[in-house]
Symmetry: C2
Subunit: 315 residues, 2 copies
């Protein structure tokens, strides 16, 4: 049994156009790294987080602590852990920052405990981490962060998460304009009722997107990446959103929408070269606008949470 | 060039659970047969329809006439046709009766005119037939009747129809309790607004159904065949609906819902044997209830509208 493990769980794009609260995809390269070790006592200890000293280290408030605790409760275990969080996904970016920490934490603890759960079975524990930060146990970011790929949360009661096949040449370009949009604010402005004809249009696009992904039909993926319900409302919170989207489309993106609750914007492309072109367009646009930003390009991360290395010292 | 052709266009199940107004599938064996011949003048003549003498023969009122006329308008053609309609799909059954006639009519005319259009290009003309009968140019029945298979109407503006892959072992059991539910009545009782959380649940199921179909995951198809928005409202118009559904599920159906606007009820199954078992359960239930009914079992008809035979006399 390992005593210490270093793990990675990717940043994620939730909603992905028409799939509000159901779709998510995992990014490559960007994600949180956690070093987790078994303690000889029952304490969960979270070390101060470098660069994010305002994030809580109290395990009952920190998403990683809450997520691991819910897993320990299920196992009826008193095992203690020490957790070093290297935060690489900026909180409030719309790229699943808290989900990345939650997913990494339960993945690491599960490995150290001899893997009592499958990755899919870890989703509910990671969701508890999400609940600690947003008040609701969302699964749309933690699912792709754990499982990788393009995922669907079909249902919450009972929880039913599904992996959707996707073409290998699907790439993502992301821009994170560094303004703050709190998920709770962003949720509040949504209407509780939608017109039936808008809902029908939305599930038409949901079906088109899944068909496009499963059949590798990039043109259909692009036509279906349309969100007529949430995007028009949330996009007003993101400076330059409409122009940035038009630049992405003019640069060859299949489609473009808001990542999670924003402010990050993502575009899907066929192939890496096109993603680079779109990222350049995002970069130039926000540079000209004078808004600090980061851009990323990424394939779809098929692996999800993973072990970087382990210390194989016997305990 | 043929002068006369005999064609078949299948009956269809629209909506298919969560896909209200977007999904449809084509049945085998059941459908309308049309004999269509070229006339030497510009008249569209529809002969009295055996068994359905109350259906209009005026080509501006009959769905077949309206559909062919819209095609001729697009071609700027004055060609006349004579049409014999052998109606095998009962009007008001919820199995796409008017769509079957409309699809067969435009398919036949297109063949006789040397195929100026692809099958997909025929959809808008067949939709005009639907408009003549229901007031709205629906595509969810005419699309599978023309193209066959399991289809998606992703969007109406612009029209975007898509074929969804499906597993060969997918079967359908249908019961048509012979009571009348008019589509216009059935539409009227739907609410114009839906709660956002219900809409989210619906598009989760839509995504699950497409994923299940594309991956041949029958269990996922069954879990996703849930309609929380339309079925609870429309099912009250169908005597015995809830019990019939429970009997289907107890007999091994993957899922069960209303075909189109009803009153027909369909169930999906894995394999033909299971479809036969479910059809028997439907039959027994409605026999015991004393309601006249018909049952059908069918695979998914992958071909759609087709030529039965042609008279190859030169014109």
């Amino acid at each position: 049994m390992e005593k210490k493990i270093k793990v990675f769980a990717p940043a994620t794009v939730a909603n992905v156009g028409p799939g509000f609260d159901i779709f998510g995809l995992a990014l490559e390269g960007i994600g949180d790294e956690l070093e987790v070790s078994l303690r000889d006592d029952s304490q969960i200890k979270i070390l101060p987080i470098e660069g994010y000293e305002d994030l809580p280290t109290d395990p009952s408030l920190n998403v990683a602590g809450v997520a691991i605790q819910s897993m320990l409760d299920e196992l009826d275990s008193q095992q203690g852990f020490e957790i070093v969080i290297k935060k690489r996904v900026m909180p409030g970016s719309g790229l699943g920052s808290s989900a990345s920490s939650s997913a990494a934490a339960v993945y690491a603890a599960n490995e150290l405990l001899g893997r009592p759960f499958s990755k899919k079975e870890l989703v509910p524990f990671a969701m508890e981490g999400e609940k600690a930060t947003s008040g609701k146990a969302h699964a749309d970011n933690v699912t792709p962060s754990l499982l990788g790929g393009f995922t669907l949360v079909r249902s919450y009661t009972p929880l039913d998460v599904v992996s959707i096949p996707f073409p290998a040449e699907l790439y993502v370009a992301v821009v994170h304009p560094q303004i703050e949009v709190k998920t709770s604010d962003s949720k509040r402005i949504l209407k509780r009722e939608v017109a039936l004809d808008m809902a029908i249009s939305q599930w038409g696009n949901v079906a088109g997107l899944v068909t496009g992904l499963a059949c590798g039909d990039f043109d259909l993926i692009g036509r279906s990446l349309e969100d007529r319900i949430v995007e028009p409302i949330r996009s007003v919170l993101i400076p330059g959103y409409e122009d940035a989207k038009q630049h992405a489309l003019a640069s060859g993106a299949l489609g473009c929408s808001i990542s999670g609750s924003g402010p990050s914007i993502f575009a899907l492309t066929e192939g890496k070269a096109m993603a680079e072109k779109v990222a350049q367009a995002f970069d130039k646009y926000y540079t000209d606008l004078g808004i600090e930003h980061k851009v990323y390009i990424s394939g779809i991360n098929a692996e999800g949470a993973k072990t970087i290395n382990k210390l194989t010292e016997k305990v």
